[in-house]
Symmetry: D2
Subunit: 337 residues, 4 copies
């Protein structure tokens, strides 16, 4: 590997910096040649901190650099699909943050263009690369729990996002549960056929005024007969709650939250252990590194990326079905969408 | 308390013996004066083992004994409601195993007769008296987790019952989930307004042929805005899985399974701890004793029993709604039933 | 088993009542015919509560009752050995609380008399019958952890006893650690050859003034090469801490404390689980029942009791060696005592 | 921080590579200018992998480079003290792997030279920087458990080292337990006054033939009255066992092992969780990074390093006392050494 793989990063926000850090620290064979952000100052600062040579306001400058082989789309959600298309047409391999789009038609267009352009396309479902979820998946794949009967996913945020964010987020199912939908597909190894969602606004009434719910339970039926249930809350006072269990014909496998240490303090007040790691940056840092390594490996080895555009589409499909189910108060078949 | 409370036990099967044992070992102020069973030999044997003076084939002989103040109805399900009515008319206080009946009208009739007869009526939802579930309830009642948002109940049996049993059981929702429905009401302190059930036959195809499912997820909506989800399986290879979690505005409280010991064996093979206590007799023995003590206390102190006929009715109502939901593939409002 | 085994209880204090309760609730084939206490009122009250027909101030009246086959010596420590001898000479089977005596010569005399009288003699090392310690022992005996290399026992009381008690207790090693010495012998299945004790008075200076320590670490060497360490404190603020671990050539087995429930409350303050069961009555109740059942079984089946007078002697021997080691600041060989 | 801190690494073995990796990945403000190893090829390979410009066989070339401000001594144990002295005389700041030497006089000489040269000197007791041990220390320092009464450290390796290593290791106490001695000092915040060690050869008879033990329990007395116990084994079949507990006047704090994931698999065979991370490279990687960051920070900010030469001396002192105690079969006062 004499020549370094040159990449460009589009979007210098929180998640853009996460990937910049991963590549800088762990991927000596990758060079971040350029970074862009509509907020030029943000891009400039990150470039300075990480020694990135080229900084742009306009991501098109990255796309037109022939040395750059791959781009990471870390810009705001509504730009994901148009930039995906531009990048594919420019012949770049693409890592795109989730969701590809809120609009199914636009995602399908991305899929088509990507397919024709024969570029790699990976979607940022980072949780698949988390040590705990990999351990569940591995136990399932090794047949340790037999056929999958029931999947349970608990996914609760430590605090609700600002109302402005909620308003443009596409709703809890497309913003938050989308990770869980992907996880349910990943763990069952099967496709969702029907979705039923109940939800309520119990955390913050403003979320309800913004037309969304903050507490939800979603039931999924799968083609292989498995059933799944996801429960979400926008605010768990004790922190980011990310657990899952797969139950099958031979037993079950479950994972708990991660903590900073295993310290248990025993006093008059009780036996006290640590709260979960605060939020996704703390909890999932290892997974961000791993997903990026595997994206890079897929390019270098010319293999299929581990999470592709199709996966990105499927999760949005389920999210839209969940939204419809909540609105209509009845189960919705994926085939209806 | 000079005079002992005299009781009669109707039904000398498994659960009849459980209550006989509890009273004999822990309630010196209660005397089991009579026991009856349509299988006279079974009644005779239990009578001999526990020193019960009167043994009958016909439970009516118990009801006509003026010394007997209370009866325990531990006979087969279809006899629960008729014997309840007879016993109430005979002026006996009644402890009745769940469910009171599969037929709502018959339960309502029991309620009416019991009300008129002014006798105590307790239904055998023993799990409310279990140390773990009491601990959850206590944390909720003390406001430790704030307002209830989400209740999650896992309830899986160690092995499926015989097919003959399945056929007459009223289906998984009335036979097995009924305990979980009661628990969900108990933990939320609110009434169910809507039920949605999905289910499948994944454990044993014969259960499907008998018209039932063996794997199910049931979502409940409550009047106070809380949501609940129950997952059931007729067979968990690792044993009787009885866990619950209540999540609220200030945090959550969860309970795990009980084991015979806390022993953890660490070897090359891994870190191995004990499987759950085998089944309900092992797991819930303490709760059977406690529910009986409280029934006795309600009679002696002339107070309302902790689980009454209304509770018995409500759980069946939810069970019937779940059955309908599964059959029709859509959520069912309790008000529709 | 037509005829009931008749027993007499000598001492109506806390532990006397524990055994009275166990026999009454769980051993229908045993009849407590008599109870005695130097405090006659105490004996009378217990007799009334449990329906014991004969009550005495003088235990000799129990010993002279030919119908009584076995006695439970639950009186104060200094009376254990003289009453043991009287009872053996009277041909009664004996269950004696620990320690048999603080004086080795007196214990040896008991052993001799018991041997000649051919009566059963069981010492009250109840922890051997606890569900957790039985699970460790069972794992060791089944070879799951291979040869025993290291035994670790943590034994801490929830609060220090009154100073008057400390003064007459024989010191921490004969009063408290004696249970742990027996446990170490039981778990290794080998005999102690050398003892080294360090101790300090860190909990309550009055204990130091009474000539004792309240915090100690005792190291034991065993004939089979195994090593053991016991740590004691007279006061653990979080409650009765009773854990053990056996480490061997193939792995380890460890047990934790018991709690009232498995409830875990997660809030802003942390993840909080329950403190250990308060003290020995709460923690070890199951073991008291089991040891008594096995004593009764040994009489009925004419087999050797599971913990005999020799075991009682050995534990005191180690305790005396520990006392000497602490006093002299050097290891003490058991053969020196 | 415009100018990078230039360092040289002496020794390109396993631990030399660990530090090289930490600096490369996490310390952009530090430049590894040179690396040396008596095995030149090893140095050359590491230099190539990490882009280190200067490679030497002779560490003196590093010491004579005026640009290099600090050196990391990662060479074999017997070279630690002579190179420490040379480096101090050359005016370099020094990070030295443990132990500084097996000979107390040589360590004292290092201390003197370092003091005169006014260079920073940090010893590689990495475990102080581990997330779990930091959590214990933090709880103790915050007074959460009150005054320290008892410290318990379990430290067991997953497999015994080769016999050749054992022979030159200085024995288990100077090679393996030395980390635990440092940890005990760190956690109590007090100095050891007396040591008593028992040990046996139970894992591998060849270790005994080499004059060492492979299983040991060491009791420590501290100046502040606290007591500590360490148990060691050269082989735990289930893996690297690194736990600790501090018990005090207000409660206790304990830490468990780290695992790759929190996955728990429940099947017929039992409830199985993961074994500890394999060995020190896996378990303590985070601590190696952190200790190096703090060494660098101490240089840049001109502050005292968190673990100094005095700490290095004290741990060896305790190790020598433990060795003497084991040989003589009696407790040894630190003041005797």
């Amino acid at each position: 590997m004499n020549k370094k793989l040159k990449v460009g990063i589009i979007g210098a926000g929180r998640i853009g910096k996460v990937h910049t850090t991963s590549i800088t620290n762990y991927m000596p064979h990758v060079e971040i040649k350029a970074i862009s952000d509509v907020n030029f100052k943000a891009a400039e600062e990150t470039a300075k901190n990480f020694g990135i040579p080229c900084v742009y306001e306009d991501h098109k400058k990255i796309l037109s650099d022939p040395e750059i082989e791959a781009v990471l789309i870390c810009s705001s959600t509504e730009t994901h699909s148009p930039i995906s298309i531009e990048a594919a047409l420019a012949g770049k391999h693409i890592f795109c943050e989730k969701p590809i789009d809120h609009d199914l038609e636009k995602i399908k267009e991305v899929l088509e263009v990507v397919k024709k352009a024969k570029v790699k396309y990976q979607v940022g479902f980072n949780r698949r690369f988390d040590h705990n979820f990999k351990a569940i998946k591995s136990a399932v794949d090794q047949g340790k729990i037999g056929d999958v009967h029931i999947v349970k996913i608990t996914s609760r945020d430590p605090e609700a996002p600002p109302i402005e964010y909620v308003e443009s987020s596409g709703g809890i199912f497309l913003d938050m549960t989308i990770h869980d939908f992907d996880m349910a597909r990943y763990l069952t190894g099967s496709e969702v056929t029907e979705v039923f969602a109940v939800g309520n606004c119990l955390v913050n009434p403003e979320i309800g005024q913004a037309g969304d719910v903050d507490t939800a339970i979603i039931t999924l039926k799968f083609a292989n007969g498995a059933l799944a249930v996801i429960d979400n809350s926008r605010r768990a006072e004790y922190g980011y709650d990310q657990r899952a269990e797969v139950f099958g014909s031979k037993g079950s496998v479950a994972v708990l939250n991660d903590t900073l240490s295993s310290a248990v303090i025993s006093t008059k007040e009780g036996i006290i252990s640590e709260k979960p790691l605060y939020f996704f940056l703390e909890r999932y840092m290892n997974s961000f590194v791993d997903e990026m390594s595997q994206f890079v490996a897929a390019i270098i080895n010319d293999t299929e990326p581990p999470v592709n555009a199709e996966d990105g589409l499927k999760a949005v499909l389920i999210g839209i079905a969940a939204k419809k189910s909540l609105a209509e108060g009845k189960p919705v078949k994926i085939s209806e969408i």
